[in-house]
Symmetry: C2
Subunit: 344 residues, 2 copies
Amino acid sequence: MARRAPENPIITPAHVAPSRADFEVVGVFNPAAIAHGDHVVLLLRVAEAPKVAPNEVAAPVWERGEIVVKRWRRDAPGLDLSDARAISIDGATWLTSISHLRVARSRDGVHFEIDDRPTFAPAHPLEAFGVEDPRLTFVAGEYIMNYTAVSDAGIATGIATSRDLRNWERRGIAFAPNNRDVTIFPEQIAGKYAALHRPMPDGIGQPAIWYATSWDLVRWGDHRFVAGRRAGAWDDLKIGGGAVPFRVDRGWLAIYHGVTREPLTYSLGALLLDEHDPSRVLARSREPILKPEAPYEMRGFFGNVVFTCGVVPSGDVVKVYYGAADGVTALAELSLADIMRGLA
Amino acid sequence: MARRAPENPIITPAHVAPSRADFEVVGVFNPAAIAHGDHVVLLLRVAEAPKVAPNEVAAPVWERGEIVVKRWRRDAPGLDLSDARAISIDGATWLTSISHLRVARSRDGVHFEIDDRPTFAPAHPLEAFGVEDPRLTFVAGEYIMNYTAVSDAGIATGIATSRDLRNWERRGIAFAPNNRDVTIFPEQIAGKYAALHRPMPDGIGQPAIWYATSWDLVRWGDHRFVAGRRAGAWDDLKIGGGAVPFRVDRGWLAIYHGVTREPLTYSLGALLLDEHDPSRVLARSREPILKPEAPYEMRGFFGNVVFTCGVVPSGDVVKVYYGAADGVTALAELSLADIMRGLA
């Protein structure tokens, strides 16, 4: 049984200072989470949108060192606003918000101090539409962050490393588009970095979870198929990585997201992966371990979504930090024993 | 000006023995090409289909060590045959043919002796629908082949190596789906293997040519965007790699394919890439260097297609081996000086 924090949602846009006066924070969600000494550190995805007049729409885009705002009148010919997240015109697509990453720290894991300024913001043409959905791992003496780099070239995954969680060195694009929901294991396996990732083939193929290894964090390969959607189940439309996997008695536990239709619903489940070869699935959640039920999960910018990028396990308690309805950050405590019992 | 071989198409299905009596060869196209001593060696993509009764359709699929044939009556409920290459039923898609690779050798570069047997055939779940569109490179003492590995998990790119072009060792899946049209440079650059590849994002992003590097041929990254489609040009719909790049005075010349609509047409052009940083485009063909004009290019299994996986350059002459209409193999000799003059 998931125990949602009574304080939920624990972080909302009202808690976050915009990065500039002409922007407003429209979402703070899908944070990376990691234990750091006696603190929990979150790397929040902060989505901002330009303030607009009632008769206009705007798209923030990083270009040559700064974020510029493109504006259109709502009645401009050919403007397509059918997806609230995007503006399409003249064969091009723009996003209505742009995300950066920001540090939040907490002693109790519930009440967070949020930095006033971005820690990691778009700074490259392949990040022109934003940096999103980070995951944090600590391996071999350094913090490793992967993040979704979004641009008109596609949705790719970048890698950055840090000693202090605030100063980040970009290491390059590690997974070519479209590929997101990467989670790097907290230990090297057989001498190599290891990760789950989620390529997104269409036509032949389906979005699914794959496994890859790397010598240097930037170059990944020896790709293996791990798990796909399951017909008739809560994850029958598509699946992808969620939290960074963590060790359990019988292997690695990877909390992932699964999607079903009618209504379109993002829930969480778990994969139990082989300790020595994490491309092998030993067991999988029969039912979701967390699904949208609370009002802040069912309604929002994009309703019926719970989506995690990071958990903090401690004994039998797994603190799951998650984005709810693509707008706010929430916390649920799950019992590891319950999760394990739900595997088949 | 392209000079097509008078013998064109130089290799057709009639020249190729099927791999088993109940199959027929339906295409021999998109060969890798490489100079090997005083021979030209092609690695042909041979597409075979099961022989069927008039009232049935069939899909060949590799499963647990052998190719099995799935059969349906043409009037089976729910069968979708609208794409001649595929059979869709019950939410699954199958292909009507399966490809393997076969060696062909020639002294004059025009008349080829073709092996009786496959050299490289599907042998892995990620190759269940076939191995396609190989490219050959010789680097650091070994032949490197990349090939498209097709399965219901998507369209990925695998790597194999050989000392003799006939005995191949699989090295793993190097590019996750969907990613094809990989070409590995014939020299290491700054100590690493280098390649162009063609990820296929949809929604945000477009199929485009990217650059990546590798220490070990299997793990690739530090992905950089190289070139995309050009509005209003002969390559305005999508582009992708073609032949393995080769050295020219001013850098690397990469012959690629570009696609336009109405009618859907695959043509060839060239990219001139920086010698030390091949992710930098110095110039690009204003017009196609080869486009479908001959009858065997305009009509066939998939008409209006010229598509190369390999060229043999020698002085001013570039022998372009190419698949025509997804059915046969043809040869055209192009002048390097002409190609260079057509760059802008």
